[in-house]
Symmetry: C2
Subunit: 263 residues, 2 copies
């Protein structure tokens, strides 16, 4: 099933997920189409959260904010239904994970607002297209993510450190790695840090806070990108009465193509 | 007086304006520092307006959104006071212009939120640095601005067409013009349209809706950029009970340098 979905277009993959026929990770599906992080919050927190994202565009590049109560991403995927079109969700009450359903229709309310946030899949596709390798993919692991000592600009109840993802590259690859990913500012863009993890507040690369350890070769150095886990971590810390997100790796597949976000 | 302010740094120019010692246009002042459009709205409209800006980043690139009731732009200019640090403001009630004061301290309220929006002065400085000319400056006129047939993505009460500014360039200059300005996405970025005004819904270049006519030479074509007048025009059309903006050309001078926004 999964291989068929790689070559499908985005709306057909969403339909398949909506009908409950696929509930796995979305990495690689609907090749060429942008995937997005999802955060759903009640209206009362929406302005402060949106300002948080706008003030921290590297970890939290906003792709779309839905109308209050509407489950449709009218800009990124007309006809979509954010209650059913992701393979798996996470539901938090007061900051505590209470469930990981495949459908959130039963939880929907008229005061909910959805935020779609750029995802690293887009710049990873660009790295591969440029002939660069993805160590975590080759090693069959989730990308390692670390909580840094770098504080985001706070907004209302939302504050916290930036979370970064790490991919190792050789010294001679660094310039291309930076220039390729900098073309996608809406998808986290250029790295925030190259080399020396301690200067970023990351003490031990072998103990990532999220994801899995990836081996770094002798001739490689760690390269760090602002990560879409940041807004989720920050929102969780604010302990909103209700928050719904995608389940890690189970993203929202949009109708927009990577190239539309290349500058 | 004005010449002295060209070489001053941003905070000294703001102090000078705050003390009422300068009340003219800010073009060219505090050379090297970013200037910003200002829109101030009551809290009740802030979320819809911010979403409007986020969904229309070419005309409305958000640089900062202040905390409710705070007149300080803590990110772009720590220590600033948005009630006094612009040389001239425009005050609108229900969409009608009711005054153009040099100070808005007497109008300040605890529910006001300020939006700082990128301004074309940054990419104009980059064009000049690249050896390109600014026809409107050479002709001693304000840049001409036109209302297009291109609708912005609406948000709540906020909707309307994109407004563009126009600068003429020769065919052989167009590639450099595009690449230079594309490096500043937070300052309107690359042009939205090159040539044929009618395809953009601009019927007559001799009747700009804002600014002044600029002569276009035989060998030049019009180049159009999304313009910071768009969010003001859209906000005015929504007829908010109170809206305060900068007076055209009388911008907020920030402590951030152009180069910080170059990608």
């Amino acid at each position: 099933m999964k291989q068929e979905l790689v070559d499908e277009n985005a709306s057909r993959v969403r339909s398949c997920i909506r009908r409950g026929e696929y509930a796995g990770p979305t990495s690689g599906l609907a090749s060429g189409f942008v995937q997005a992080n999802l955060v759903i919050l009640p209206r009362e927190l929406a302005f402060d959260f949106l300002r948080f994202c706008v003030h921290n565009p590297k970890p939290c590049p906003i792709l779309e904010v839905t109308e209050e109560g509407s489950p449709e991403a009218t800009l990124m995927a007309p006809g979509s239904d954010l209650r059913t079109d992701l393979p798996r969700y996470r539901v938090y009450e007061n900051g505590e994970l209470i469930g990981e359903p495949q459908d959130i229709s039963h939880l929907w309310r008229d005061d909910l607002i959805s935020f779609l946030i750029g995802c690293s899949f887009t710049f990873e596709a660009a790295l591969v297209a440029a002939g660069l390798r993805l160590a975590h993919v080759e090693q069959g692991r989730n990308v390692p993510m670390y909580v840094t000592a770098r504080e985001c600009a706070p907004s209302g109840a939302f504050s916290g450190p930036m979370v970064v993802s790490m991919r190792p590259y050789r010294a001679d690859e660094i310039p291309l790695v930076v220039s390729v990913t900098s073309r996608y500012p809406a998808m986290h863009g250029a790295p925030v840090h190259v080399g020396n993890p301690e200067a970023l507040g990351v003490k031990d690369l072998n103990t990532p806070e999220f994801g899995e350890v990836v081996e770094i070769a002798e001739d490689q150095m760690p390269v760090f990108w602002a990560c879409g886990v940041t807004p989720q971590a920050v929102a969780m810390k604010a302990r909103p009465p209700l928050m719904i997100t995608h389940s890690p790796g189970h993203m929202f597949i949009t109708d927009r193509r990577h190239s539309e976000f290349e500058i």
